[in-house]
Structures are given as structure tokens and as C-alpha cells.
Symmetry: C2
Subunit: 252 residues, 2 copies
DNA sequence: CAGTGGTCTAGACCACGAT
DNA sequence: TCGTGGTCTAGACCACTGG
């Protein structure tokens, strides 16, 4: 260590800084290959682990992704748009445009890993549905895959007393889906509450969504209410944050 | 490597798995100290870097945080609740309860790092406000600190032609804030669009929000529209995801 | 097959925090 | 002061990808 020490910033962070700046300045475009471990070792005269650490910083920031045997590449962000309130989202609020561009949806959607069954409600689920603990609930679990890329995990909980004998307890709920069947049963959902949070994925989520390192997940917990204010469904969704932009339109 | 190899899972991931399971089973509660590098080295008979790598997995998952000189500890999650649509959020949708608990807000809020000025709109800002590129815009930048912990960065953009000479161009906008002043000027915002995404923080964001490793940020871009459908404000917010749950209520 | 990233070892020195 | 995590070196073998 003869020259450096200018500033107390660790070597691996200095290297990461330079690469990050280069990416953000456009010197490396999305999809471009970045200098690899060997490049950094010679360029900066550091050990292998130090070069690796620098690259791992960028990966954990979601800026780069490694492809084994190929190299390290700048990541892209081309999200889908999920409209939380379709009724209001269209219309004449058109002078200003969206902040983040999003792909149009004329792609191949596959629903996957469907599991339907009945279990005892966890404390959280019972609370959200206004049921006593351990009440029986209908559980519908699915995965959504868009153009071969998994983007969304969905688990829906409904009071089992409501869904007895209804198509809701079968994999195919029929035209209009679960909400149409609830309406048939006299429990039409008219009000919704969505709670949103964000965190790093568990190993299981990371695997089911094929997530890159440094990709958070968005959690949406949607509760559906009837006109009487009774909760009839809790839908817990797990989204690949690199695939989604959420949008909510509302009036003052 | 005499015994292992049972399963091709790398050592550091196996160690991380065991610790993760122990955390999720409650063997280690939030705030508890986890086995440190030296503990793992002797327990699993691995090299220092391997133990470090196992712990770094948990940190990047947001499950653990390291305190230099002290140890590695299980993280906590006690979020604030941000209601996107206050008018609807109250009321009679009360049978079902929130999925995630949230602290009540009787805490000390400080607004910080206030900067107000005028610049040329970036392409993204101009697009959102329906302005020609490089149009002059009023910029209001702030940081919100709750009980000493920074939780939110906010940057607001308004067409400079609207705000000329108004208190909006000063640090203190007066009672009712920016929206009240816009109303005074005959540009009352009546409709809002919020776009939400999520990603890992930049170094600057991480520093301004004092984020732990493994903590994503939530980005909210809110556009405010007048009754005529003209956008009058773009507010870009950056939230510490470990401090927030977002909530949206709406009707079918 | 050559090059890449993935994993792992066995050392070292440092800055920091608790005692 | 002593243990902790933070940084760094200089090697090694492996699995995978590409031409």
C-alpha cells in the first residue's frame, strides 16, 4: 500500500465507487459487461477477494449481476405497471406522464404452482379476516410467470365457512374469478385495503421468483370488504421489485 | 472436507440456513446477539472468511446487523403507517385489522436539510409536469427525522411559472403547506397519482437515511393534478423500507 | 479448452466497543 | 485491555459458459 490512503475509504469501496460512477454516467449501458475480477486485480493491483468484494457491492445494490462463466453485467429495469385503482387510473389525468416507463402487457402470462386447500388460520390471517384464532380458512396459492420470468407469488385466504362447496375451493374458480364467486354467494367485495411493505427476500422467495442478488421484494396485503364492512378475503402477494411499478390514483 | 458434501449447498449457505432457521423459530429474538465470526469458526470448523460470508448473507437479507466491536444482532421491524388516502382510510372498515402492526405517531418529528431553489427540469421531471424540457422548476428538498432516525427524503418539483413570488419558493410555506399555497394561487390539487417502486439504496441515500446493510428503499413519485387535469407538482420521496408500511384504501 | 465467477483456506493488521 | 467485526493478501480447486 504505497500510494493510496488518500481518504480512509476502503479499497473495495473505492473500486465500487468508480464502477458505479461509470455506470451512472452511461459509460456502461444496461446489459454491458463490466470489468471482471481478473481485470480489477490487475487494474487496481488488489487481491482476488478485494476485487470480488467490490463487485459484490454493486450486485447487492442491484446495479450489476454476475453470470457464472461469462462475466459481470449491468442490470436493466423494465417494470410492469400494476394499477391499484383501475377505475380512477384511466381518464383525463393525462397532461403529465408517468415517471417510470413500463412495458405494455401483451406478453405470455402463465399461472403456475397452483395449490388450493384448507388450513387453520394463523394469528395474522385470523386478525385480518376478523375470525377467531385457528378458524378454518380456504387457501389459494399461485405463481404468475410472465414470458418465462416469475414475477408474482399470491396466497389468498378466505373464511372456510363462506367458501364451502363453492368453486373457490377448486383450482379453477371460473369466469370472473374469486370475486365473482363471492358475489354469487352474496358477499360482493366493494372495498379494498392494500398494505405495502418492502424487504429483502427469503431464500424460498428468491428461489421461486428467480431473483438476482440485490433485488428486494414488494409485499402487498390486500383485504377485501363487503358493503357491510366484513372482510372476506386476505390476499398476500410477493412481487419481484425489479419487475413492477405500483400505481394508485385517488382524489383529494 | 471429510464429512460434509451431503448436498451441494456451499458451507456458508448451510451455516446461514441454520442461523436463519434459528432466528425464524424464535431461538434468537429481535435484538439478541448471534454467534460471531469466532464462534462460527470453531463450531463449524471453517475459515474466517467463510464465517463472515455466512453472516453477510443474513445481513444482506435484512435479518441481522453487525455492530463493530460488539457483535452481530437480530434486527427488528417496527414500521410507521403511511395512509395514502386519508379520507377513505378511516371509517367503518374496521372488522378486519391491519396485517402489520405499526407504531402510533406521538413521536418527535424534525424536518431537516431543507433546500429550496430553482433549476432546469430534467427530462423525467418535465415529462411528469407536462412541461417542455429544461423548463425552470421550483425545487423543495427536505429530510424527515423521527426520534433521531431519518426515515424519509422528499424532493418536490413545481413549475416555476406557478410559484413566482409565492411562499412556496421559501423554506417555510406557511399554514397548510405547499398545497394550501397552490390553492391560494388558483391551482388547487384535487387528484393525485402515486407511483411506487422499490430497490436497494444508492450510497448517498444509504448515508442520508442511515440505513443498515440489507435495507431497501421505497420510492414514491406523487403527481398532483388540478381539476382541469393539469399537473402542478411532482413529489419524489425516498423511504427507509424498514420504517414504513404504506396503506391505500379504495372502493371497487 | 480457456476464461469466468463461486467457494474456501490460513494467515495478517486495524479500529472500534465494552469492561 | 481484549474481543469484536472490517479489511486485505496470496494462494487453491471447482463448475460453468463461451467460442
Amino acid at each position: 500500500m504505497t500510494d493510496q490512503d488518500s481518504g480512509r475509504r476502503p479499497k473495495y469501496q473505492r473500486i465500487a465507487d468508480e464502477l458505479r460512477t461509470a455506470i451512472q454516467s452511461g459509460a456502461f449501458a444496461p446489459g454491458d459487461r463490466l470489468p471482471g475480477e481478473n481485470d480489477l486485480m490487475t487494474t487496481y493491483d488488489v487481491a482476488r477477494m478485494t476485487a470480488r468484494q467490490a463487485l459484490s457491492v454493486l450486485r447487492n445494490e442491484g446495479l450489476a449481476e454476475a453470470r457464472k462463466g461469462a462475466g459481470v453485467f449491468v442490470r436493466t429495469f423494465r417494470p410492469l405497471r400494476r394499477r391499484g385503482i383501475p377505475r380512477l387510473a384511466q381518464g383525463h389525468w393525462g397532461t403529465g406522464h408517468s415517471v417510470w416507463s413500463a412495458d405494455v402487457e401483451d406478453r405470455a402470462l402463465v399461472v403456475d404452482q397452483i395449490e388450493v386447500g384448507e388450513t387453520a388460520a394463523t394469528a395474522r390471517v385470523a386478525e385480518a379476516l376478523g375470525l377467531p384464532p385457528d378458524s378454518p380458512v380456504c387457501v389459494r396459492s399461485r405463481r404468475f410467470v410472465l414470458d418465462g420470468k416469475p414475477v408474482l407469488l399470491s396466497v389468498s385466504y378466505l373464511p372456510a365457512t363462506l367458501t364451502q362447496g363453492s368453486p373457490i375451493t377448486t383450482p379453477d374458480t371460473g369466469p370472473g374469478g374469486t370475486y365473482a364467486r363471492l358475489t354469487d354467494l352474496g358477499h360482493e367485495p366493494v372495498h379494498f385495503r392494500e398494505e405495502i411493505r418492502c424487504r429483502m427476500p427469503t431464500a424460498a422467495e428468491s428461489s421461486r421468483l428467480s431473483l438476482e442478488l440485490g433485488t428486494p421484494v414488494i409485499l402487498i396485503a390486500r383485504t377485501a370488504f363487503t358493503a357491510k364492512g366484513a372482510p372476506v378475503e386476505l390476499n398476500e402477494m410477493t412481487l419481484d421489485s425489479s419487475s413492477y411499478v405500483l400505481e394508485y390514483d385517488f382524489d383529494a
